[in-house]
């Protein structure tokens, strides 16, 4: 990247930054630890793939919120409605292109999924811009007001969803080629979950590239830590705030599409239902950290899957238990971001 040209101006033998590998090792360590308890390797692979897919969907839904919280210091309790709105936006595509969902063509089915994602990101991005301008901007700097006002925004937008699409749950079909499962001997992997893993990894890598290899990414990372200094360097942080809020809303919309096809049912409250999980993930990961959000999502989803299989009675508290253990180990989260 041209902005990084300064790098070439210095000797090559200079030391590199150390990567904090320890939290990254948690995921394979957890998976290996679960293997003897699960017993059957094929069941273990099935649970692991399902957990990874669930983790990716949680990551897609949570990544926008961690950026918004980290950069703007905004507690957006209304984030869940962007997940719902993204899910409902699929209807804008599924209505006119219903035939594509039924077609026995992987290309058409994936194109349909892609169009649903684009429509959802567009709708939630636009609504996010309005939400930031009308609801969030007047309460910058006041967490209590943010909680109240964004909750209000959530309720109003949920009611708008009811007014537009009705209050009854709406079933949505998975595209034909994404139904069913890949079966390798005793191992069963649902096709849609594999697609969710691929999309989750692609979004994560894209965000990592954006944040670490571009000037806008540098600005976001710097803004998370010290927005005042970013302004003193001549950058208009307000525009960055708005852009990040729109991007965060659009990412929630993307997560909403994936979550909708996973549930195959739309309800206005579906976003709000996962918000507890989303908040757990961004707290575990470290507020403002995309890598933390990614690792936290996988951790929470894998633990839920393994515990749900090994000791179902503990499944309900497993997420809280993970959060407590992580915060005892690292009180600022797995990848703490320096704060102003």
């Amino acid at each position: 990247m041209s902005d990084m040209a300064a790098e070439s101006n210095t000797p090559a033998e200079l030391p590199r930054a150390k990567t904090d590998w320890l939290p990254l090792v948690l995921i394979p360590a957890l998976a290996l630890l679960a293997l003897p308890f699960v017993g059957s390797p094929s069941t273990w692979v099935t649970l692991t793939v399902a957990g990874l897919a669930m983790g990716m969907m949680i990551f897609l839904m949570a990544s926008g919120l961690t950026l918004v919280f980290g950069l703007m210091d905004i507690i957006n309790f209304g984030h869940g409605v962007f997940i719902s709105l993204g899910a409902y936006a699929t209807l804008l595509v599924l209505g006119p292109l219903a035939g594509w969902a039924q077609a026995d063509s992987l290309g058409l089915n994936l194109a349909l999924l892609l169009l649903c994602i684009l429509a959802a990101m567009l709708v939630t991005g636009l609504v996010g811009a309005v939400f930031e301008r009308v609801i969030v901007r007047p309460v910058y700097g006041s967490h209590l007001k943010q909680i109240l006002v964004t909750m209000g925004g959530l309720i109003v937008t949920e009611q708008l969803i009811h007014a537009i699409w009705g209050a009854s749950p709406i079933p949505i079909p998975l595209p034909q080629s994404l139904r069913g499962a890949f079966v390798f001997g005793d191992i069963v992997m649902e096709r849609y979950r594999v697609v969710a893993v691929v999309i989750g990894i692609a979004v994560f890598l894209g965000m990592e590239l954006l944040l670490n290899r571009t000037r806008i990414g540098l600005l976001i990372r710097a803004g998370v830590e010290n927005p005042e200094m970013v302004e003193a360097l001549g950058y208009r942080i307000r525009r960055l705030f708005v852009s990040v809020f729109i991007a965060g809303s659009a990412l929630a919309g993307l997560g909403g599409v994936m979550w909708a096809f996973y549930r195959q049912t739309l309800t206005a409250g579906m976003g709000m239902e996962v918000m507890v999980l989303v908040f757990i993930v961004i707290i575990i990961g470290g507020l403002g950290s995309i890598t933390g959000c990614f690792v936290g999502s996988l951790l929470v989803a894998l633990v839920a899957n393994y515990v749900g299989f090994i000791e179902p009675k503990l499944a309900l508290i497993s997420n809280i238990l993970v959060m407590a253990l992580v915060l005892i180990w690292r009180p600022q989260g797995l990848f703490p971001v320096a704060r102003r």
Binding site: D3, R16, A17, L218, L233, G234, I237
Partner: protein, 241 residues
């Protein structure tokens, strides 16, 4: 007589209910290093933050290069050519040293010759080039803060207490760096508590007390007049050597 690069006229600043600056007037001539002195709480940091637009002046006027910047936003003031190094340094500790400097060069890649010059002023930064800035010592962070402020040519540098809390050896290297910046023709407004450092660097001096300017003139006059030092600062240069 040429117009000064920066001119403050009757500037008042309130922070919440507190009236901090009471009609501050002074001028910064181009190409010179002006020291802003005063005891703790005199209003030096508030003055710098008011110039940068981080706190808005409640009345008065700030003119930079002939233009009124009193109500301008902080990014616009920075874009007009004012570099700022806050007292807390404002280093982005999660970013590497390289990324801190890259970010400060708004117009694109840092010019190679300028980067060589900056790293010549602060050679310690080379060793930590690709490491997070949070790993640096206090003195190295201060070097990075100043290096970042000069990553691109600026018309004026505002630097708040760069030697605060630094070891004597680090203070000496900082003084050498400022001498080099002066020699390069930079215009600098430097807030400093260390009168020894101030007297070694300043062309001009402005002294504040209780949010007001109580003295301004040539640094050589203040250095030569021990009674004036005592009266304005409550100390003499001898005490700092």
């Amino acid at each position: 007589m040429t117009e000064p690069l920066l001119q403050l006229s009757g500037v008042h600043t309130h922070i919440g209910p507190y009236h901090i600056l009471h009609g501050v007037d002074f001028a910064i001539p181009s190409g010179q290093l002006t020291m802003l002195l005063g005891r703790n709480g005199a209003g030096k940091t508030t003055t710098l933050r008011t110039i940068m637009g981080l706190w808005q002046a409640s009345s008065g006027q700030i003119r930079f290069d002939g233009k009124d910047i009193t109500s301008a936003s902080t990014p616009d003031i920075a874009r007009a050519g004012i570099g700022y190094v806050p007292e807390a340094m404002g280093i982005f500790t999660d970013l590497t040293v390289r990324e801190n400097i890259v970010l400060a060069a708004r117009s694109g890649p840092v010019d190679k010759n300028r980067l060589d010059w900056i790293l010549g002023l602060f050679p310690a930064l080379k060793r930590f080039w690709n490491l997070p800035a949070g790993n640096l010592s206090g003195g190295q962070k201060q070097m990075l803060a100043i290096a970042r402020a000069i990553a691109e040519p600026r018309r004026l540098l505002l630097i708040d207490e760069p030697t605060k809390g630094l070891a004597p050896v680090m203070v000496r290297s900082m003084i050498e760096a400022f001498k080099a910046l002066k020699a390069a023709g930079e215009t600098i407004l430097l807030v400093e508590q260390n009168f020894y450092a101030a007297s070694a660097l300043g062309d001009n001096v402005v002294v504040m007390d209780d949010g007001r300017i109580v003295h301004s003139g040539a640094m050589s006059e203040l250095v030569a007049d021990k009674a004036l030092q005592q009266r304005l600062l409550g100390l003499s240069l001898d005490a700092h050597q």
